[in-house]
């Protein structure tokens, strides 16, 4: 996938006639493969909604979102599954981990599907993010910051053209935040992928090609 275009998209809840000042909603916006974007927003302006529309688990919006010109509303369930395995990766704000599985299993459940990384590569990620000794623990027992790192490793266990990071460093310190940034930008560079980060203030230190105000 080369580009994601947003054409006059607007969440239905915003369609009450209020004037909207946004570079994304009710406007023409585009994300290109290989570039890094920061979408800045105040809370309640629909930042997570935007990602859920692009990622295909909500459709309550007007306008169009297109992948290389194809309206994403026309994709079938299996096509979405293929995109989520090979083109689009995401770090959810609410993480969406499985609390009853261990940290390692949470990553493995994705990697078993894509067979993208070798076990030692996943190990290296755990070590690099400082949660190597937490691999065997149920995710439900980890702190939110630790879970955030597990979810990121899971997001990296697949080929992608775009990776979305929804407030990726909200619960991380400076050090871990920059390690995470390096991991993501390293992986994206290897794959020639685009990065789209959302933030309500504190954001990951990356070289952004474009900043958009939501």
């Amino acid at each position: 996938m080369e580009r994601i275009t947003i054409e006059q998209a607007l969440p239905r809840v915003f369609q009450d006639g209020r004037p909207i000042e946004s570079e994304v909603w009710n406007a023409q916006a585009e994300f290109q493969k290989g570039k890094t974007y920061l979408v800045e927003a105040a809370s309640g302006t629909g930042k997570s909604s935007l990602l859920s529309y692009i990622y295909g688990y909500r459709r309550d919006f007007g306008g169009k979102i297109c992948f290389d010109g194809r309206d994403c509303r026309t994709l079938s369930a299996d096509e979405w599954a293929r995109l989520r395995q090979g083109s689009l990766s995401i770090l959810f704000q609410e993480l969406r981990l499985f609390p009853e599985l261990t940290a390692w299993e949470n990553v493995a459940i994705k990697n078993n599907l894509t067979h993208f990384k070798a076990d030692r590569e996943i190990d290296a990620c755990f070590e690099a993010l400082g949660i190597g000794e937490k691999k065997g623990q149920p995710c439900g027992k980890l702190s939110f910051g630790q879970q955030q790192r597990v979810a990121l490793i899971r997001a990296l266990c697949q080929p992608f053209d775009f990776i979305f990071l929804d407030e990726p460093v909200s619960h991380l310190d400076e050090r871990n935040s920059s390690i995470l940034g390096e991991l993501v930008s390293g992986e994206a560079a290897r794959q020639g992928a685009g990065i789209i980060v959302t933030s309500i203030g504190k954001h990951m230190e990356l070289h952004y090609d474009k900043r958009l105000k939501l």
Partner: protein, 402 residues
């Protein structure tokens, strides 16, 4: 797959599944047993007189004292036969044609020469259309001019001789086969003519209580030797449903009488069908309820695991793959139920077949394959519906935010 299963088996309630399992097992076992029992028992009633397919009732006019004195023969008129044929309970209707000529039958024992015995008796013949004859003998045919006449006797005659006469006089008992070898010397006369025939007993009937010859012979002989037009005094009626109360009412209103207990036997068959239908219905209702129970508990399971299922779909699992563990679970349970129901079927059938084979030794036992086929069809249909419903539910989870 191991991780998916580890994840999705959360919230599975063994109690609910057990409940479904046993309910479904009972339902399935009852349905299969009911079917098989009917298949096993029905031949016992359809052999010989074949009154499982249709019933035959012989109607006569009531013989009153006044009628006897006045010499009225109580014959049926054409209009009365037609009236019976038009009744809703009646199928085919045939009349008994009596012989209007004289018949004398003789039997030579120990050879016809000196020292032999010769029994001789006056008797009569009757005939009914061939379709009503319950003895399927190939020789039940008469071509005008041939000297041999096939004869069917009531089975009660043979019994009367074997268990009454032969018993009390220490005479040998005669089997049906042996009777077939006996040749009767038949002499027919009327209108000043006479002719000899050889009579051969080709069978015994429980339905037709008369000395029966083929219709073709009787028609020919009545025309040749008969002294008056034959007036049918008995009528044979094929009855669609022997328990039809309209039939009983009609017979009573017209002052007719029914001759034998075929009506009773027919009622037993009808009763058997009814009981089987009720058993099948009960089994089907239990099966249906258990199916409903399984669907409810799977839906509940899916509901409890909604978030997990949604997350699996969001990390790239195809809906088909997410549905698979639940589909395998339900199909597996259904399969175990089918297998156990078949085992139960064999065990219970083994028991009742012992009793049945004592009651009806000559009865052949139908195969189990048909019933097991029905079981397999139910299994396939139920599993297919289960799988489709699960898939639909997963799809609705995928789109529930729409």
């Amino acid at each position: 797959m191991r991780l998916i299963w580890k994840l999705l088996q959360q919230h599975i309630s063994p109690g609910q599944l057990c409940g479904f399992f046993f309910a479904n097992l009972f339902g399935m076992a009852i349905v299969l047993l009911g079917l098989q029992f009917y298949k096993d028992v029905a031949p016992a009633f359809s052999g010989g007189d074949s009154f499982i397919r249709s019933d035959f009732v012989v109607l006569t006019k009531r013989i009153g004292t006044l009628g006897s004195l006045s010499g009225s023969v109580g014959a049926f008129r054409r209009s009365e036969v037609d009236e019976v044929a038009q009744q809703p309970f009646a199928g085919r209707v045939g009349v008994f044609t009596p012989s209007t000529y004289n018949v004398n039958a003789a039997l030579d024992l120990g050879g016809s020469g000196a020292g032999g015995f010769r029994f001789s008796t006056d008797m009569f013949f009757e005939s009914v259309p061939d379709a009503f004859v319950d003895v399927q003998a190939d020789s039940w045919r008469y071509a005008p001019g041939t000297p041999e006449i096939p004869i069917i006797l009531p089975r009660s005659y043979l019994n009367l001789y074997n268990f009454g006469f032969a018993q009390s006089r220490s005479l040998p008992k005669i089997s049906e086969g042996l009777m077939g070898l006996v040749r009767l010397d038949i002499r027919i006369d009327g209108r000043g003519k006479a002719r000899r025939f050889t009579g051969r007993i080709v069978g015994f009937s429980t339905r037709l209580n008369t000395i029966l010859v083929p219709q073709a012979f009787n028609d020919w002989a009545n025309a040749e030797f008969g002294e008056k037009r034959p007036a049918p005094a008995r009528m044979i009626v094929e009855v669609k449903n022997p328990a039809d109360e309209r039939m009983a009412r009609f017979v009573q209103d017209k002052g007719y009488e029914t001759e034998d207990d075929n009506l009773e036997a027919g009622r037993i068959t009808y009763f058997l069908k009814l009981v089987t239908a009720i058993v099948l219905l009960v089994g089907a209702v239990i099966s249906l309820l258990s199916f409903y129970m399984l669907m409810l508990s799977v839906y509940l399971l899916l509901q409890k695991n909604t978030t997990k299922l949604e997350n699996l779909l969001l990390i790239g699992y195809r809906p088909a793959l997410v549905a698979l563990p639940y589909q395998l679970l339900t199909a597996g349970l259904n399969l175990v139920v089918l297998l156990l129901a078949c085992v139960a079927l064999c065990a219970v059938r083994g028991q009742y077949m012992q009793v049945l084979s004592r009651l009806f030794p000559q009865m052949e036992s139908p195969s189990l394959l048909g019933t097991i086929g029905v079981g397999a069809a139910i299994f396939l249909a139920v599993s297919l519906i289960n799988c489709l419903a699960i898939r639909r539910k997963i799809n609705s989870i995928r789109l529930h935010r729409d």
